[in-house]
């Protein structure tokens, strides 16, 4: 899952980026409010972690702007401002979660997973399509009860498709979900990962819509 981290403090930003990466997120880190807004408008992030005391543009302003622009990305506000009125205001102007520093890295990751899941209308942490069960927290996939070994990219790709069932996702969209900035993407990387997923989980799971992209249909097929 690709998320945006907006944090001006170098030590915290560095730590969060490294820590969330360890927990399976792809993290883009920006240090000011202007960049945060720009990135959120430009890329389809699964979620954003937003500090409020950002230079150039306050986190609250960023939130107001992107919500006004109709951007529904799940936003977790991570701040040292703990006053109840601040929390209320943050949630009211469009934050999906409000967490006061310091925060446990694992808790932050769990909250992000929950935000992403809810944003896709999934009531449960574990995603299930037919016989395939994906556990985002454990980063494990089972097919008919048996564990399937997937690479990190394959897992992320399957995760994105399972969160967006019944939607056609283009190769570019998938790339944006899977790769953070500066990561070199080979032109046929997505095709390779799809091929591997079909090999490991059955060829009927993911369908190709020729000329458009890929779709993971929810309806059980005969």
């Amino acid at each position: 899952m690709r998320i945006l981290l907006a944090e001006d403090d170098p030590l915290i930003g560095e730590g969060l980026r490294a820590g969330l990466r360890q927990l399976g997120f792809h993290v883009d880190w920006v240090r000011d409010g202007g960049a945060a807004e720009r990135e959120l408008r430009a890329h389809p992030y699964a979620a954003a972690v937003l500090d409020l005391g950002l230079p150039l543009k306050d986190g609250m302003e960023v939130l107001i702007e992107i919500r006004r622009a109709g951007n529904a990305v799940p936003v977790l506000v991570l701040t040292a401002r703990d006053a109840v009125p601040d929390r209320i205001r943050g949630l009211d102007i469009g934050a999906d979660d409000y967490v006061v520093k310091p925060v446990d890295l694992h808790e932050l990751a769990a909250r992000l997973r929950a935000l992403i899941r809810r944003a896709h209308g999934q009531p449960q942490e574990r995603l299930r399509i037919n016989d395939v069960v994906l556990d985002p927290a454990a980063r494990s996939v089972e097919l008919e009860g048996d564990s399937v070994a997937l690479s990190a990219r394959e897992f992320d790709l399957l995760h994105v498709l399972m969160l967006n069932t019944d939607q056609v996702l283009s190769r570019e969209q998938l790339e944006q979900h899977l790769y953070s900035w500066g990561q070199e993407v080979e032109s046929n990387a997505i095709e390779v990962h799809i091929h591997n997923l079909r090999r490991k989980l059955g060829s009927a799971l993911i369908r190709t819509v020729r000329g458009v992209g890929y779709i993971l249909p929810r309806a059980p097929k005969k």
């Binding site: 030590l11 520093k101 310091p102 890295l105």
Partner: protein, 454 residues
């Protein structure tokens, strides 16, 4: 408080007023007594003298012969209160019915005209003695002294009894008046007693006596000072708690990253950053403590400080940091005078300024520190070739925990608060400007010279 040592203002007032009224009453009575007695004596003595004169004249004209002693008839029941005797050539010629046969005033030392007070048969008489022109006629006229006393008492009674009667009424009236008079005090007492313990709003001045205004003003002043103190304390605690979160969050995140990192080099990096975050927290706590001590308003011990030596020392301490960042740190001082102040605090001020200049200037920047003397003022100048400050940011310098946006350095945001506070304690002036020579920030701190450097 010792309850027994308390007294009632009202009781005290009533007692004092009644004591004064009673004293005035007693003095009035005494004066009436003496005055009335004096006037009465004058009047009645003149009557005695008049009566004696009549008798002398009468004796000279009518009782010319050697008549036997004649007793004048008693004509009225009051007559026994007065008496008279007329002697002609040593013999009793005429007397009132109640007069003795011997002269009213003993003549053992010879006859004397004038007034005398004598005791006859247990009764006190006021007697006037006189004689005729040829000294053969001697007349005594007497009057019972008790009748004078009774007149005096009658006068005194009639003037004193209305006041005597009025005294209890007066006591009640005084009690009521005093009770009403101290009502504002009771109201204030009640109002104060009813205030919640934490209430710090001022006591209202309306409806209180002018004598109480200084008291209430002093009280309100106290409330205000306590309120300001509490408010600053509260803000400080809130700010401090808020600011401590950031380094603690950094420590926690970096520690968790280190825990979760499999790669050895990466783990070491995360651990190193954990230590950096700890250093930052330490620095923040130190700054907070410095500020707290400054805000506690403890008056620092003032001495004559050689600013040049002090700043030189600070620059020497910070030189390694500059070298670590490949910055050039210079110190130059012209002749300088002493500055009255606290050595420790002035060192903190200088260290903060120089440290800020190094911290917020990039690598290879120049930082120049100078101490100069201009027209009776000693000036500390810290200039750098860093990015300087936007005007809006310059204005916000010194706000607690304000950090210039976008600065990647992890400052506490307290340095300027501390600098400003120390400057205020020492009555120093601070100017923030753009350095003409180096292009970055120029901070000028100036203060009036103390005694000339020896």
């Amino acid at each position: 408080m010792n309850q027994r040592q308390l007294y009632s203002l009202q009781g005290r007032l009533i007692t004092l007023i009644l004591a004064v009224v009673a004293s005035v009453w007693l003095v009035t009575a005494a004066m009436t007594w003496f005055d009335a007695r004096h006037e009465l004596d004058e009047l009645l003595d003149s009557h005695l003298a008049q009566a004696a004169a009549l008798l002398v004249v009468q004796q000279a004209h009518e009782i010319d012969g050697d008549g036997e002693g004649v007793d004048a008839p008693s004509l009225h029941r009051y007559a026994p209160k007065v008496t008279f005797q007329v002697f002609h050539e040593g013999r009793l010629a005429l007397r009132s019915a109640n007069a003795p046969a011997v002269p009213l005033v003993e003549r053992d030392k010879g006859f004397k005209t004038g007034f005398a007070t004598v005791q006859i048969g247990g009764v006190t008489w006021r007697v006037f003695a006189t004689h005729g022109g040829e000294r053969d006629v001697q007349v005594y006229v007497g009057e019972q002294a008790s009748s004078r006393a009774s007149i005096l008492w009658a006068v005194l009674r009639s003037t004193m009894w209305p006041i005597g009667l009025a005294l209890p009424l007066l006591a009640i009236a005084v009690w009521w008046a005093v009770y009403q008079g101290v009502a504002p005090m009771r109201r204030l007492g009640r109002a104060l007693a009813e205030r919640p313990a934490q209430a710090l709003h001022p006591v209202k001045l309306e409806g209180i006596a002018s004598e109480m205004v200084p008291m209430v003003n002093a009280l309100n002043g106290l409330f205000e000072r306590i309120g300001t103190l509490l408010e600053s304390e509260r803000r400080f605690t809130a700010d401090a708690a808020h600011e401590l979160r950031t380094p603690i969050a950094a420590i926690r995140v970096q520690a968790q990253v280190a825990l979760g990192e499999a790669d050895d080099a990466l783990r070491r990096g995360a651990l190193q950053r954990t230590l950096d975050a700890c250093d930052r927290a330490t620095r923040l706590v130190e700054q907070l403590l410095t500020l707290a001590r400054l805000e506690a308003n403890a008056t620092p011990t003032m001495a004559e400080i050689d600013l040049r030596a002090l700043v030189q020392q600070v620059v020497a301490e910070l030189a390694p940091k500059a070298i670590g960042k490949n910055q050039s740190l210079e110190f130059e001082a012209t002749e300088s005078c002493n500055l009255p102040g606290s050595e420790a605090l002035l060192a903190v001020l200088a260290r903060n300024l120089v440290d800020n200049a190094l911290r917020y200037s990039p690598q290879f920047a120049r930082v120049r520190v100078g101490v100069q003397q201009h027209s009776g003022r000693v000036v500390l100048i810290v200039e750098d070739s860093g990015p300087g400050l936007a005007e809006a940011d310059a204005r916000r310098l010194g706000e607690r925990f304000f950090r210039v946006p976008g600065s990647s350095e992890s400052g506490s945001g307290l340095g300027w608060s501390i600098v400003r506070r120390i400057a205020a304690v020492h009555q120093l002036e601070i100017e923030v400007d753009r350095s003409a020579e180096l292009g970055g920030l120029a901070v000028r701190v100036s203060g009036r010279c103390g005694h000339q450097a020896v």
